[in-house]
Symmetry: none
Subunit: 253 residues, 2 copies
Protein backbone atom coordinates (compact mmCIF):
# COMPACT_ATOMS: atom_id res chain seq x y z
CA UNK A 1 0.00 0.00 0.00
CA UNK A 2 1.41 3.39 -0.87
CA UNK A 3 1.92 6.04 1.74
CA UNK A 4 -0.77 8.18 0.15
CA UNK A 5 -3.37 5.72 1.39
CA UNK A 6 -2.08 5.76 4.93
CA UNK A 7 -0.98 2.84 7.06
CA UNK A 8 -2.67 -0.51 6.45
CA UNK A 9 -4.48 -2.11 9.38
CA UNK A 10 -2.55 -4.34 11.74
CA UNK A 11 -3.98 -7.84 12.23
CA UNK A 12 -3.65 -8.93 15.86
CA UNK A 13 -4.20 -12.61 16.66
CA UNK A 14 -4.74 -13.02 20.38
CA UNK A 15 -3.73 -16.42 21.76
CA UNK A 16 -3.79 -18.36 18.49
CA UNK A 17 -3.67 -22.09 19.19
CA UNK A 18 -2.77 -23.62 15.83
CA UNK A 19 0.30 -22.62 13.86
CA UNK A 20 -1.37 -23.58 10.60
CA UNK A 21 -4.11 -21.05 11.28
CA UNK A 22 -1.45 -18.37 11.72
CA UNK A 23 0.06 -19.38 8.39
CA UNK A 24 -3.32 -19.45 6.66
CA UNK A 25 -4.17 -16.06 8.14
CA UNK A 26 -0.89 -14.64 6.79
CA UNK A 27 -1.73 -15.98 3.34
CA UNK A 28 -5.23 -14.50 3.44
CA UNK A 29 -3.79 -11.16 4.56
CA UNK A 30 -1.29 -11.00 1.73
CA UNK A 31 -3.97 -12.07 -0.75
CA UNK A 32 -5.70 -8.84 0.20
CA UNK A 33 -2.65 -6.58 0.47
CA UNK A 34 -2.24 -6.64 4.25
CA UNK A 35 1.14 -7.60 5.70
CA UNK A 36 1.34 -6.37 9.29
CA UNK A 37 0.75 -9.30 11.64
CA UNK A 38 0.99 -9.26 15.44
CA UNK A 39 0.70 -12.26 17.74
CA UNK A 40 -0.25 -12.18 21.40
CA UNK A 41 1.02 -15.21 23.31
CA UNK A 42 0.81 -17.78 20.49
CA UNK A 43 0.19 -21.08 22.25
CA UNK A 44 3.15 -22.93 20.78
CA UNK A 45 5.62 -20.05 20.82
CA UNK A 46 7.09 -18.12 17.92
CA UNK A 47 8.57 -18.52 15.36
CA UNK A 48 6.81 -21.79 14.61
CA UNK A 49 7.86 -23.77 11.52
CA UNK A 50 4.40 -25.39 11.41
CA UNK A 51 2.97 -22.07 10.23
CA UNK A 52 5.04 -21.99 7.05
CA UNK A 53 3.28 -24.53 4.79
CA UNK A 54 -0.16 -22.95 5.26
CA UNK A 55 1.29 -19.52 4.47
CA UNK A 56 1.97 -20.87 0.97
CA UNK A 57 4.27 -18.11 -0.17
CA UNK A 58 3.33 -15.47 2.38
CA UNK A 59 6.31 -16.37 4.54
CA UNK A 60 7.48 -12.76 4.54
CA UNK A 61 4.40 -11.84 6.56
CA UNK A 62 5.32 -14.50 9.12
CA UNK A 63 8.94 -13.36 9.19
CA UNK A 64 7.90 -9.83 10.03
CA UNK A 65 5.26 -10.86 12.59
CA UNK A 66 5.72 -9.23 15.99
CA UNK A 67 5.01 -11.04 19.25
CA UNK A 68 3.53 -9.41 22.35
CA UNK A 69 2.94 -10.53 25.91
CA UNK A 70 -0.56 -9.12 26.10
CA UNK A 71 -3.24 -7.43 24.04
CA UNK A 72 -2.58 -4.03 25.56
CA UNK A 73 0.99 -4.09 24.31
CA UNK A 74 -0.06 -5.27 20.85
CA UNK A 75 -2.42 -2.32 20.38
CA UNK A 76 -0.36 0.23 22.29
CA UNK A 77 0.22 2.35 19.17
CA UNK A 78 -3.20 1.79 17.57
CA UNK A 79 -5.54 4.74 17.43
CA UNK A 80 -8.60 2.70 16.41
CA UNK A 81 -9.33 -0.85 17.44
CA UNK A 82 -11.93 -3.23 15.99
CA UNK A 83 -12.77 -6.46 17.82
CA UNK A 84 -14.13 -9.33 15.77
CA UNK A 85 -16.53 -11.70 17.46
CA UNK A 86 -19.01 -14.36 16.46
CA UNK A 87 -21.13 -13.91 19.55
CA UNK A 88 -23.13 -10.74 19.97
CA UNK A 89 -21.89 -9.50 23.32
CA UNK A 90 -23.93 -8.19 26.15
CA UNK A 91 -21.92 -5.00 25.87
CA UNK A 92 -23.07 -1.60 24.71
CA UNK A 93 -20.80 -0.87 21.80
CA UNK A 94 -21.43 -0.12 18.13
CA UNK A 95 -21.52 -3.30 16.08
CA UNK A 96 -20.67 -3.18 12.40
CA UNK A 97 -20.46 -5.71 9.60
CA UNK A 98 -17.09 -6.41 7.97
CA UNK A 99 -18.21 -4.35 4.99
CA UNK A 100 -19.08 -1.35 7.12
CA UNK A 101 -15.87 -1.79 9.09
CA UNK A 102 -13.82 -1.89 5.90
CA UNK A 103 -15.26 1.37 4.62
CA UNK A 104 -14.59 3.02 7.95
CA UNK A 105 -11.06 1.63 8.13
CA UNK A 106 -10.26 2.97 4.67
CA UNK A 107 -11.36 6.44 5.72
CA UNK A 108 -9.45 6.19 8.99
CA UNK A 109 -6.28 4.98 7.31
CA UNK A 110 -6.52 7.76 4.76
CA UNK A 111 -6.68 10.22 7.65
CA UNK A 112 -3.49 8.75 9.11
CA UNK A 113 -5.11 6.75 11.92
CA UNK A 114 -3.46 3.48 12.94
CA UNK A 115 -6.07 0.74 12.86
CA UNK A 116 -5.84 -2.63 14.61
CA UNK A 117 -8.10 -5.61 14.02
CA UNK A 118 -8.37 -8.05 16.95
CA UNK A 119 -9.10 -11.76 16.56
CA UNK A 120 -9.45 -14.14 19.51
CA UNK A 121 -8.31 -17.72 20.10
CA UNK A 122 -9.88 -20.44 17.97
CA UNK A 123 -12.02 -22.06 20.63
CA UNK A 124 -13.17 -19.19 22.74
CA UNK A 125 -12.87 -16.00 20.71
CA UNK A 126 -11.88 -12.74 22.33
CA UNK A 127 -12.55 -12.42 26.02
CA UNK A 128 -14.53 -9.46 27.29
CA UNK A 129 -11.46 -7.66 28.59
CA UNK A 130 -10.08 -7.58 25.06
CA UNK A 131 -13.37 -6.68 23.40
CA UNK A 132 -13.74 -3.76 25.75
CA UNK A 133 -10.53 -2.22 24.41
CA UNK A 134 -12.11 -1.74 21.00
CA UNK A 135 -14.27 1.12 19.85
CA UNK A 136 -16.25 -1.17 17.57
CA UNK A 137 -17.33 -4.77 17.43
CA UNK A 138 -17.23 -6.44 14.03
CA UNK A 139 -19.81 -9.16 13.64
CA UNK A 140 -19.84 -11.32 10.52
CA UNK A 141 -23.47 -11.92 9.58
CA UNK A 142 -23.46 -15.69 9.05
CA UNK A 143 -25.79 -18.63 9.40
CA UNK A 144 -27.08 -18.11 12.94
CA UNK A 145 -27.19 -21.86 13.46
CA UNK A 146 -23.54 -22.33 12.49
CA UNK A 147 -21.72 -19.08 12.84
CA UNK A 148 -18.28 -20.04 14.13
CA UNK A 149 -15.73 -19.17 11.46
CA UNK A 150 -12.29 -20.69 11.35
CA UNK A 151 -9.72 -18.11 12.49
CA UNK A 152 -8.04 -17.73 9.11
CA UNK A 153 -11.46 -17.53 7.44
CA UNK A 154 -12.42 -14.68 9.75
CA UNK A 155 -9.18 -12.89 8.89
CA UNK A 156 -9.94 -13.42 5.21
CA UNK A 157 -13.41 -11.92 5.42
CA UNK A 158 -12.08 -8.74 7.02
CA UNK A 159 -9.05 -8.52 4.73
CA UNK A 160 -11.19 -9.19 1.64
CA UNK A 161 -13.64 -6.46 2.56
CA UNK A 162 -10.71 -4.13 3.25
CA UNK A 163 -9.35 -4.80 -0.22
CA UNK A 164 -12.67 -4.33 -1.97
CA UNK A 165 -13.43 -1.15 -0.05
CA UNK A 166 -10.22 0.32 -1.45
CA UNK A 167 -11.19 -0.14 -5.04
CA UNK A 168 -13.89 2.51 -4.91
CA UNK A 169 -12.43 4.78 -2.29
CA UNK A 170 -10.69 7.96 -3.31
CA UNK A 171 -7.87 8.46 -0.86
CA UNK A 172 -7.97 11.85 0.77
CA UNK A 173 -5.13 11.90 3.17
CA UNK A 174 -4.65 14.64 5.63
CA UNK A 175 -2.13 14.56 8.44
CA UNK A 176 -4.16 14.81 11.61
CA UNK A 177 -2.97 17.54 13.90
CA UNK A 178 -1.33 15.96 16.89
CA UNK A 179 -4.06 16.98 19.31
CA UNK A 180 -6.86 15.60 17.14
CA UNK A 181 -5.37 12.25 16.38
CA UNK A 182 -7.00 9.26 18.02
CA UNK A 183 -5.59 8.23 21.37
CA UNK A 184 -3.38 5.17 21.22
CA UNK A 185 -4.15 2.00 23.15
CA UNK A 186 -1.29 2.88 25.44
CA UNK A 187 -2.63 6.33 26.20
CA UNK A 188 -6.05 4.88 26.91
CA UNK A 189 -4.58 2.19 29.17
CA UNK A 190 -2.69 4.84 31.14
CA UNK A 191 -5.89 6.76 31.66
CA UNK A 192 -7.72 3.63 32.84
CA UNK A 193 -4.87 2.98 35.29
CA UNK A 194 -5.10 6.51 36.62
CA UNK A 195 -8.88 6.47 36.93
CA UNK A 196 -9.12 3.02 38.46
CA UNK A 197 -6.36 3.67 40.96
CA UNK A 198 -8.26 6.66 42.23
CA UNK A 199 -11.56 4.78 42.20
CA UNK A 200 -9.96 2.00 44.20
CA UNK A 201 -8.73 4.53 46.74
CA UNK A 202 -12.22 6.02 46.85
CA UNK A 203 -13.81 2.68 47.73
CA UNK A 204 -15.65 2.41 44.42
CA UNK A 205 -14.73 -1.26 44.06
CA UNK A 206 -15.80 -2.27 47.52
CA UNK A 207 -17.19 -5.63 46.43
CA UNK A 208 -14.13 -7.42 44.95
CA UNK A 209 -16.23 -9.92 43.00
CA UNK A 210 -17.90 -7.10 41.10
CA UNK A 211 -14.73 -5.21 40.29
CA UNK A 212 -13.99 -6.78 36.88
CA UNK A 213 -17.49 -6.14 35.57
CA UNK A 214 -17.47 -2.58 36.87
CA UNK A 215 -14.06 -1.94 35.34
CA UNK A 216 -15.29 -3.24 32.02
CA UNK A 217 -18.43 -1.12 32.14
CA UNK A 218 -16.42 2.03 32.74
CA UNK A 219 -13.68 1.22 30.22
CA UNK A 220 -16.35 0.45 27.68
CA UNK A 221 -17.82 3.94 27.93
CA UNK A 222 -14.48 5.54 27.18
CA UNK A 223 -13.26 3.16 24.50
CA UNK A 224 -16.57 3.61 22.70
CA UNK A 225 -16.12 7.37 22.65
CA UNK A 226 -13.10 7.06 20.31
CA UNK A 227 -11.16 9.62 22.29
CA UNK A 228 -8.52 11.86 20.81
CA UNK A 229 -5.15 12.24 22.45
CA UNK A 230 -6.17 15.71 23.67
CA UNK A 231 -9.37 14.38 25.22
CA UNK A 232 -7.47 11.75 27.12
CA UNK A 233 -5.25 14.47 28.55
CA UNK A 234 -8.34 16.45 29.49
CA UNK A 235 -9.81 13.41 31.23
CA UNK A 236 -6.61 12.94 33.23
CA UNK A 237 -7.10 16.54 34.31
CA UNK A 238 -10.72 15.82 35.23
CA UNK A 239 -9.74 12.93 37.49
CA UNK A 240 -6.94 14.92 39.07
CA UNK A 241 -9.25 17.87 39.71
CA UNK A 242 -11.91 15.67 41.27
CA UNK A 243 -9.59 13.90 43.68
CA UNK A 244 -7.41 16.97 44.22
CA UNK A 245 -10.05 19.29 45.53
CA UNK A 246 -10.33 17.99 49.09
CA UNK A 247 -6.57 17.49 49.27
CA UNK A 248 -6.10 21.17 48.71
CA UNK A 249 -8.68 21.88 51.36
CA UNK A 250 -6.84 19.70 53.78
CA UNK A 251 -3.66 21.63 53.14
CA UNK A 252 -5.57 24.84 53.80
CA UNK A 253 -6.85 23.71 57.11
Amino acid sequence: MSGAEGPTPVVVLVGPQLAENIGAAARAMLNCGLDRLRLVRPRHGWPDPDAVPAAAGAGAVLDRAEVFADTAAAIADATRVYATTARLRDMIKPTVTPREAAREMRRLAAAGERVALLFGPERTGLDNDDVVRASRIVHVPLNPRFSSLNLAQAVLVLAYEWRLAGEAEVPRRRDPKSWERGATGDELANFFDHLEEELEAGGFFEVPAKKPAMQRAIRNVFSRAELTEQEVRTLHGVVTALVGRPRRRREDS
Copy 2:
Protein backbone atom coordinates in the same frame (compact mmCIF):
# COMPACT_ATOMS: atom_id res chain seq x y z
CA MET B 1 -33.09 -21.68 2.85
CA SER B 2 -36.79 -21.62 2.25
CA GLY B 3 -38.31 -22.90 -0.94
CA ALA B 4 -39.50 -19.41 -1.80
CA GLU B 5 -35.91 -18.43 -2.37
CA GLY B 6 -35.28 -21.32 -4.72
CA PRO B 7 -32.60 -23.98 -4.53
CA THR B 8 -29.26 -22.95 -3.04
CA PRO B 9 -26.19 -23.18 -5.29
CA VAL B 10 -24.28 -26.44 -5.45
CA VAL B 11 -20.56 -26.20 -4.66
CA VAL B 12 -18.52 -28.47 -6.94
CA LEU B 13 -14.90 -29.19 -6.00
CA VAL B 14 -13.07 -30.60 -8.99
CA GLY B 15 -10.12 -32.86 -8.15
CA PRO B 16 -9.54 -31.62 -4.59
CA GLN B 17 -6.16 -32.84 -3.33
CA LEU B 18 -6.36 -32.28 0.42
CA ALA B 19 -9.12 -33.74 2.57
CA GLU B 20 -8.73 -30.95 5.09
CA ASN B 21 -9.57 -28.42 2.40
CA ILE B 22 -12.77 -30.33 1.66
CA GLY B 23 -13.64 -30.22 5.35
CA ALA B 24 -12.82 -26.53 5.63
CA ALA B 25 -14.86 -25.82 2.51
CA ALA B 26 -17.84 -27.65 4.04
CA ARG B 27 -17.51 -25.56 7.18
CA ALA B 28 -17.34 -22.31 5.18
CA MET B 29 -20.40 -23.36 3.17
CA LEU B 30 -22.49 -24.09 6.22
CA ASN B 31 -21.32 -20.83 7.83
CA CYS B 32 -23.07 -19.15 4.94
CA GLY B 33 -26.12 -21.37 4.67
CA LEU B 34 -24.96 -23.57 1.79
CA ASP B 35 -25.03 -27.34 2.25
CA ARG B 36 -24.93 -29.00 -1.16
CA LEU B 37 -21.42 -30.26 -1.86
CA ARG B 38 -20.27 -32.28 -4.86
CA LEU B 39 -16.83 -33.79 -5.38
CA VAL B 40 -15.28 -34.72 -8.70
CA ARG B 41 -12.54 -37.37 -8.35
CA PRO B 42 -11.21 -36.36 -4.92
CA ARG B 43 -7.55 -37.39 -4.95
CA HIS B 44 -7.65 -39.59 -1.87
CA GLY B 45 -11.09 -41.10 -2.46
CA TRP B 46 -14.31 -40.57 -0.54
CA PRO B 47 -15.44 -40.64 2.22
CA ASP B 48 -12.20 -39.46 3.82
CA PRO B 49 -11.98 -39.25 7.61
CA ASP B 50 -9.25 -36.61 7.28
CA ALA B 51 -11.89 -34.15 6.14
CA VAL B 52 -13.86 -34.35 9.37
CA PRO B 53 -11.75 -32.28 11.83
CA ALA B 54 -11.58 -29.26 9.52
CA ALA B 55 -15.34 -29.41 9.01
CA ALA B 56 -15.64 -28.56 12.71
CA GLY B 57 -19.31 -29.40 13.09
CA ALA B 58 -20.30 -29.27 9.45
CA GLY B 59 -20.01 -33.05 9.16
CA ALA B 60 -23.55 -33.28 7.83
CA VAL B 61 -22.43 -31.44 4.70
CA LEU B 62 -19.67 -34.02 4.22
CA ASP B 63 -22.08 -36.89 4.86
CA ARG B 64 -24.38 -35.69 2.13
CA ALA B 65 -21.60 -34.90 -0.34
CA GLU B 66 -22.03 -36.58 -3.71
CA VAL B 67 -19.12 -37.94 -5.73
CA PHE B 68 -18.86 -37.82 -9.53
CA ALA B 69 -16.46 -39.26 -12.06
CA ASP B 70 -16.19 -36.07 -14.07
CA THR B 71 -17.23 -32.44 -14.09
CA ALA B 72 -19.87 -32.98 -16.74
CA ALA B 73 -21.71 -35.44 -14.51
CA ALA B 74 -21.43 -33.15 -11.48
CA ILE B 75 -23.11 -30.27 -13.27
CA ALA B 76 -25.54 -32.34 -15.31
CA ASP B 77 -28.59 -30.90 -13.59
CA ALA B 78 -27.28 -27.36 -13.25
CA THR B 79 -28.92 -24.69 -15.34
CA ARG B 80 -26.26 -22.06 -14.65
CA VAL B 81 -22.59 -22.71 -13.99
CA TYR B 82 -20.01 -20.28 -12.60
CA ALA B 83 -16.31 -21.16 -12.81
CA THR B 84 -14.00 -19.60 -10.24
CA THR B 85 -10.45 -18.89 -11.23
CA ALA B 86 -7.53 -16.86 -9.97
CA ARG B 87 -6.02 -16.48 -13.42
CA LEU B 88 -7.76 -14.35 -15.98
CA ARG B 89 -8.23 -16.74 -18.86
CA ASP B 90 -7.60 -16.22 -22.49
CA MET B 91 -11.21 -17.08 -23.11
CA ILE B 92 -14.06 -14.90 -24.26
CA LYS B 93 -16.51 -15.23 -21.44
CA PRO B 94 -18.15 -12.73 -19.14
CA THR B 95 -16.10 -12.28 -15.98
CA VAL B 96 -17.75 -11.15 -12.78
CA THR B 97 -16.62 -10.50 -9.23
CA PRO B 98 -17.93 -12.69 -6.42
CA ARG B 99 -20.22 -9.85 -5.39
CA GLU B 100 -21.71 -9.54 -8.85
CA ALA B 101 -21.98 -13.32 -9.12
CA ALA B 102 -23.80 -13.51 -5.80
CA ARG B 103 -26.42 -10.98 -6.85
CA GLU B 104 -26.96 -12.84 -10.09
CA MET B 105 -27.16 -16.20 -8.35
CA ARG B 106 -29.78 -14.89 -5.93
CA ARG B 107 -31.91 -13.75 -8.84
CA LEU B 108 -31.37 -17.01 -10.67
CA ALA B 109 -32.20 -19.15 -7.64
CA ALA B 110 -35.33 -17.11 -6.98
CA ALA B 111 -36.36 -17.86 -10.56
CA GLY B 112 -35.89 -21.58 -9.94
CA GLU B 113 -32.59 -21.95 -11.77
CA ARG B 114 -30.16 -24.57 -10.47
CA VAL B 115 -26.81 -22.91 -9.98
CA ALA B 116 -23.44 -24.66 -9.68
CA LEU B 117 -20.17 -23.09 -8.58
CA LEU B 118 -17.01 -24.79 -9.84
CA PHE B 119 -13.69 -24.77 -8.00
CA GLY B 120 -10.52 -26.37 -9.35
CA PRO B 121 -7.72 -28.39 -7.73
CA GLU B 122 -5.47 -26.61 -5.22
CA ARG B 123 -2.35 -26.45 -7.34
CA THR B 124 -3.63 -25.86 -10.82
CA GLY B 125 -7.11 -24.44 -10.60
CA LEU B 126 -9.77 -25.42 -13.12
CA ASP B 127 -8.53 -26.57 -16.47
CA ASN B 128 -9.85 -24.87 -19.55
CA ASP B 129 -12.16 -27.74 -20.40
CA ASP B 130 -13.98 -27.20 -17.15
CA VAL B 131 -13.96 -23.41 -17.36
CA VAL B 132 -15.53 -23.64 -20.76
CA ARG B 133 -18.57 -25.40 -19.30
CA ALA B 134 -19.48 -22.32 -17.34
CA SER B 135 -21.53 -19.36 -18.51
CA ARG B 136 -19.52 -17.02 -16.34
CA ILE B 137 -16.04 -16.76 -14.89
CA VAL B 138 -15.82 -15.53 -11.32
CA HIS B 139 -12.60 -13.71 -10.60
CA VAL B 140 -11.77 -12.63 -7.06
CA PRO B 141 -10.09 -9.22 -7.23
CA LEU B 142 -7.08 -9.77 -4.97
CA ASN B 143 -3.52 -8.56 -4.61
CA PRO B 144 -2.23 -9.08 -8.18
CA ARG B 145 1.19 -10.02 -6.82
CA PHE B 146 -0.22 -12.75 -4.56
CA SER B 147 -3.61 -13.78 -5.82
CA SER B 148 -3.73 -17.53 -5.21
CA LEU B 149 -6.43 -18.24 -2.63
CA ASN B 150 -6.56 -21.43 -0.63
CA LEU B 151 -9.41 -23.62 -1.91
CA ALA B 152 -11.55 -23.34 1.21
CA GLN B 153 -10.89 -19.58 1.28
CA ALA B 154 -12.16 -19.29 -2.28
CA VAL B 155 -15.28 -21.25 -1.34
CA LEU B 156 -15.77 -18.94 1.64
CA VAL B 157 -15.58 -15.77 -0.45
CA LEU B 158 -18.28 -17.01 -2.81
CA ALA B 159 -20.46 -18.43 -0.04
CA TYR B 160 -20.06 -15.26 2.03
CA GLU B 161 -21.10 -13.05 -0.87
CA TRP B 162 -24.04 -15.36 -1.53
CA ARG B 163 -25.15 -14.99 2.05
CA LEU B 164 -24.80 -11.22 2.13
CA ALA B 165 -26.57 -10.80 -1.17
CA GLY B 166 -29.60 -12.40 0.45
CA GLU B 167 -29.57 -10.24 3.53
CA ALA B 168 -31.25 -6.92 3.09
CA GLU B 169 -30.71 -6.11 6.69
CA VAL B 170 -28.73 -7.83 9.38
CA PRO B 171 -30.44 -7.86 12.74
CA ARG B 172 -27.81 -6.42 14.96
CA ARG B 173 -29.61 -5.08 17.98
CA ARG B 174 -31.53 -6.95 20.59
CA ASP B 175 -34.51 -5.25 22.15
CA PRO B 176 -32.88 -3.13 24.78
CA LYS B 177 -33.66 -4.02 28.38
CA SER B 178 -34.85 -1.07 30.39
CA TRP B 179 -31.43 -0.50 31.93
CA GLU B 180 -29.89 -0.58 28.48
CA ARG B 181 -32.01 2.19 27.07
CA GLY B 182 -30.21 5.31 25.99
CA ALA B 183 -29.91 8.04 28.59
CA THR B 184 -32.30 10.92 28.13
CA GLY B 185 -31.08 14.45 27.60
CA ASP B 186 -32.24 15.19 31.08
CA GLU B 187 -30.24 12.39 32.62
CA LEU B 188 -27.18 13.47 30.70
CA ALA B 189 -27.64 17.10 31.75
CA ASN B 190 -27.91 16.04 35.39
CA PHE B 191 -24.66 14.16 35.07
CA PHE B 192 -22.95 17.17 33.49
CA ASP B 193 -24.22 19.35 36.35
CA HIS B 194 -22.86 16.91 38.89
CA LEU B 195 -19.50 16.54 37.18
CA GLU B 196 -19.00 20.23 36.46
CA GLU B 197 -20.00 21.30 39.94
CA GLU B 198 -17.32 19.05 41.36
CA LEU B 199 -14.80 20.19 38.77
CA GLU B 200 -15.55 23.80 39.63
CA ALA B 201 -14.92 23.04 43.29
CA GLY B 202 -11.68 21.30 42.34
CA GLY B 203 -10.37 24.36 40.53
CA PHE B 204 -10.55 22.75 37.12
CA PHE B 205 -12.05 25.84 35.49
CA GLU B 206 -9.53 28.26 36.93
CA VAL B 207 -9.42 30.44 33.82
CA PRO B 208 -13.01 31.66 33.44
CA ALA B 209 -12.59 32.58 29.78
CA LYS B 210 -11.70 28.98 28.96
CA LYS B 211 -14.53 27.39 30.89
CA PRO B 212 -17.11 27.19 28.09
CA ALA B 213 -14.68 25.49 25.70
CA MET B 214 -13.54 23.04 28.35
CA GLN B 215 -17.11 22.21 29.28
CA ARG B 216 -17.93 21.55 25.67
CA ALA B 217 -14.89 19.34 25.22
CA ILE B 218 -15.83 17.19 28.20
CA ARG B 219 -19.52 17.03 27.40
CA ASN B 220 -18.66 16.07 23.87
CA VAL B 221 -16.77 12.99 25.03
CA PHE B 222 -19.77 11.71 26.94
CA SER B 223 -22.48 12.66 24.48
CA ARG B 224 -20.53 10.97 21.71
CA ALA B 225 -20.42 7.75 23.70
CA GLU B 226 -24.23 7.40 23.42
CA LEU B 227 -24.52 6.43 27.06
CA THR B 228 -27.21 4.20 28.46
CA GLU B 229 -29.20 5.15 31.50
CA GLN B 230 -27.26 2.57 33.54
CA GLU B 231 -23.95 3.96 32.39
CA VAL B 232 -24.93 7.46 33.44
CA ARG B 233 -25.72 6.12 36.90
CA THR B 234 -22.33 4.39 36.98
CA LEU B 235 -20.62 7.63 36.01
CA HIS B 236 -22.39 9.50 38.81
CA GLY B 237 -20.91 6.85 41.08
CA VAL B 238 -17.48 7.37 39.58
CA VAL B 239 -17.57 11.10 40.26
CA THR B 240 -18.85 10.56 43.79
CA ALA B 241 -16.14 7.99 44.52
CA LEU B 242 -13.42 10.26 43.20
CA VAL B 243 -14.43 13.29 45.23
CA GLY B 244 -15.62 11.26 48.19
CA ARG B 245 -12.37 9.48 48.99
CA PRO B 246 -10.69 12.29 50.94
CA ARG B 247 -14.02 13.21 52.55
CA ARG B 248 -14.20 9.78 54.07
CA ARG B 249 -10.61 10.10 55.21
CA ARG B 250 -11.36 13.40 56.80
CA GLU B 251 -14.23 11.87 58.73
CA ASP B 252 -11.90 9.10 59.86
CA SER B 253 -9.29 11.46 61.20
